[in-house]
Subunit: 120 residues, 4 copies
């Protein structure tokens, strides 16, 4: 089956500012080509504090989920912190493919970047 | 032979707006280094509905094809939906290499991103 | 030794317009970690015509070369065509690592993209 | 353990200009999922001169470090040169994952790009 159960993204960052119609955001884009529902657990790593856990999402069989990190909440209601560098580990209950993208609208015009996550 | 017959792209999205001279679009860029014509089948996956099939393109031997998703039509005349997140599976009759790019001109200045597709 | 001798880039395009101080361009960025000089041959593939060959560059031992495609000329003096989709095959006499980037300044603000080339 | 000890990035460049609130910069983003501190050594390769060594950084266990190349200094106080093409080799004392990103704010609006580094 196409995919892996663990993926990492070293360059995570949620800009604090947004101009224009689109808010600055990041998305962890998951594609699940299996015939089973995927439970997705995310861990956030920082430069100077302990990792944050408890962020969960899901992706149906033969579905995609573009998980918006600016809208994500942990079990205990925490948000992903803005304006600080972080890295992300994505763990899925079934093999999936993960791509990570950022839209930055903190200046007059938006900027975009993307990369496949790394799966070792 | 360089390439694979199946590639996936988790982060697909066609912006609904375009400003300036270049329309917002995505391209599935195929390079066929074999000496046989490639038939390309694309499946689109969504967050909350069944996958869409029936989107076909081709790429000649020793040719590239930058398949414009904003212009693509399925056998039954359907367009790729705009303004909703999707993921793409690309299947080729011969090994090819696939890269995916987006041009977003929905704000004053265009934004670009690209990545090699994932082939497992 | 880190690297490969053959790399491909499906999404090549040289914008025809440039605004501001930086011209629209693409670069094939080569890193040669061997202790031998690298001779680099590039082939350009198109949607509807035969591949173009005869484009050569070099990269010294323990050197990088960011080969500017807007400045490249073939043995017979040909330029890389502008405003048409192409793909690139990069072949080196010794193992190298290849990354491909585009700067598009055809609207008011520049846009950038990059990806590692594909080596199979 | 997820990761590698050697990574390379062929396309490095520090723009000389910055407009707006965010300075033009590059970051080598490291994620260390091991339980040991990582010592990171960086070598910079150029088109026409000898490589520069002596640039060191670190990344704690279960931490990320987004190493800002515009702020980096070598043991002898040297900066990463601006306005010239370079390539980067990143060597870590323990396996890590490396991603490289650039923010270019040399025109009116910022541009971003990113890619996973290459690890062979």
């Amino acid at each position: 089956m196409m995919g892996k159960t663990t993926w990492v993204i070293p360059d995570g960052f949620l800009p604090t500012k947004s101009l224009g119609e689109q808010p600055s955001h990041e998305a962890v884009c998951v594609l699940n080509l299996t015939d089973e529902h995927a439970t997705i657990n995310m861990t956030f790593y920082f430069e100077d504090k302990e990792p944050l856990t408890g962020f969960q999402a899901s992706c149906g069989a033969l579905r995609t989920h573009h998980i918006r990190l600016d809208k994500l909440r942990s079990h205990s209601g925490e948000e992903v912190p803005r304006g600080v560098p972080y890295a992300i580990k994505v763990e899925s209950s079934v093999p999936v493919v993960v791509q990570h993208s950022r839209l930055d609208s903190s200046q007059e015009a938006l900027a975009l970047f993307t990369t496949m996550a790394y799966s070792g």
